[in-house]
Symmetry: none
Subunit: 210 residues, 4 copies
DNA sequence: CATGAATGAGTGTTCATTCAT
DNA sequence: TATGAATGAACACTCATTCAT
């Protein structure tokens, strides 16, 4: 914990030093607008007005509103994915690791409704999303999960008669749908309970029975 | 089979009698356009051109592009949901019913990439979707699944320590994510195999162990 | 002459009947603007304002300012090229025909400085010009000249030791450069004298000497 | 040969001494961009990027993109015009000189498609071109030709019943149109053949017959 | 029931230009 | 001499929407 705080501060310092103030203002404006409306309804004019910056500057720094969104998403996701690898160290057993990832993911989703809606509902529609850096991050994340599953199979913890990728899709899909009602309808959500329920089913279903 | 044909004919008759030709042409145009591009990129002008109909006419019938889409989606989904209830009759046991639903859903998705993409990726973003008739259909469908799960719990087939809704979300989410790679990346898909893999895990995970 | 007038009236009637008034107003506005400034400096806003028409209408009818220009040019050139074939009938001898074409071309250029400047200086720079209908007309015109030259060679009037195309280029290039000072610097021009001077040189140079 | 090398070195020395490095880099960038796209599509931002120089700097040196272009064109044309006078020395007879000029011009055009396109198609449209130094150079060049023609008339080599200027326009226009297909459509071109063909016609047409 | 014509209001985008450092 | 940052003003283009016929 100490470390993460220290790191955040460090990053913040670096960024505000290296990034031109206009660029920062634009990203902040985008972030605040995303809380109010869906992405596709956000216009350059609005961003510029809130950022108190010229419209042309958005073009200069981001070329495109979509680019700007990806930048914002990246900045949101990056530290999380970075920390994940770190957090998994010291955990023994694939299932235990999986539980950690599941909890972490649900927790991430439940920590910010705006970004969750964007990630689960909006972003996949954008042309070019699957070539974006944001998607690359999501991929990295998915690979980590795949690695855990494969490790589990190797260690005899997880059954070997189902494609690891299928197991991963089931895991991710389950998480998503468990969180969607919260994201869409503002239903209550408790990461601990959801994790518990999912793992009860999932682990029973995927673990190797002798 | 007799029934379905009879029904189709019945519907066709009703439609061609009750629906003005312009309206039909417009919906056909929309359907064909959806195959070529994502919904948000479709304009009234295009629809009118393909339907060989005046722009104003679309406006008269549908008021809103979204309205038109929902009409098209409804027409696509409705017969499927109708059939589902019918198909479940005569199947013994909740898990067997569930397997049938899972297979049917994957099969539905894999039968039409365009509509799958719309349902899984696009439609949830539209403002008003959750008040639409399309969503109502999806809800009906989800309720059927919930009913099956509750029946399973009652009958002692399915464990009772997890909220039925959670089980349903896990089921639906799993299906979706298993089909997404196909919808997005044109990856191959085999409904039988996917159903098998999902049920192996899911049923082991949800069934009541004594 | 009777015929041409009759035809013009006929065309005018047809056009004003078949063309929507907005479209006509836009083309008129374009024509009047071309007299005042070079094409690339003309904006949609100006056209719309002068035509007393909405900007969107330009888009609807022409898609593009360039398209609009081509339409205007076509309407200007078309009758001329149409008449050319007609006018050449009854003239005996390739050189006599060539003289007629040369005079006609210089006369055309000298009859409208605006269009001459556009044709000789501006239009060739536009991307897509060489795929445009305007260029097609120019090509048709050039082909007529080529045909005359080839006829002259066949008849023994014109020397056969030089490529017909080269002779044509020399003819067209000479005409152009003789007219450019008038177009650019408003220098005086006399079609009769220029034709006479060019033919003196050209015919002496290209005619077959025994 | 010695001379030309010496001259080039001389120029290079002068330039690298008198011109600030940024200015040179900018002109190089402009030259390289002209090879890729037409002038009007080139922006300051692009130039600055390629020159690896700040946008503001271009503005400081050239004030106007057009200015920069003229500078580049001047640098391209100047040595050629300089050489022309020199090359004509020692040639006896106006027609022989004219042939030399014609060959040289076609050769110049055919040596660089980019500059030929600019000179024959683009540059004449620019407002201010006819007040530019580039045009001054072209004028100088045209005056040399006019001088040769007048000399030919005086010497009785060239007919005296046509305005010398007309003869010059015919000569220049012929050259241009002979080279245009090459410049525009990348058609093949052979300076020797074209010169031969043009001179065959032109000289026969303009020479004094007794 | 259907159409042709026209509009208003906005959108993303572009670029030359300026200025403090 | 050279740069990074920022701006203003325009521009082409789009589209849902309306209405008289």
């Amino acid at each position: 914990m100490d470390k993460s705080i220290a790191k955040d501060n460090f990053e913040a310092t670096v960024k505000s030093r290296s990034q031109p103030p206009g660029r920062v203002k634009i990203m902040d404006a985008m972030r605040s607008l995303l809380k109010k409306k869906e992405f596709s309804a956000i216009t350059w004019a609005e961003i510029a007005k809130i950022a108190e910056v010229n419209e042309g500057l958005i073009y200069k720094y981001f070329n495109d509103t979509r680019n700007l969104l990806h930048e914002v998403l990246k900045e949101y996701l990056e530290p999380y994915v970075d920390h994940l690898k770190f957090d998994l160290k010291g955990i023994e057993g694939a299932l235990n690791k999986l539980r950690k990832v599941i909890w972490g993911t649900i927790n991430l989703y439940s920590s910010n409704r705006v970004f969750t809606k964007i990630l689960l509902l909006e972003v996949r529609n954008f042309p070019g999303y699957f070539q974006s850096e944001t998607y690359q991050l999501v991929q990295d994340y998915a690979k980590i999960i795949l690695g855990i599953i494969e490790e589990g199979i190797r260690r005899g913890e997880i059954r070997d008669d189902i494609l690891p990728k299928n197991i991963r899709e089931i895991t991710l899909g389950s998480i998503e749908h468990l969180c969607l009602p919260w994201a869409i309808f503002n239903k209550d959500i408790d990461p601990d309970v959801l994790t518990e329920n999912l793992c009860k089913i999932l682990f029973e279903g995927i673990k190797k029975h002798d």
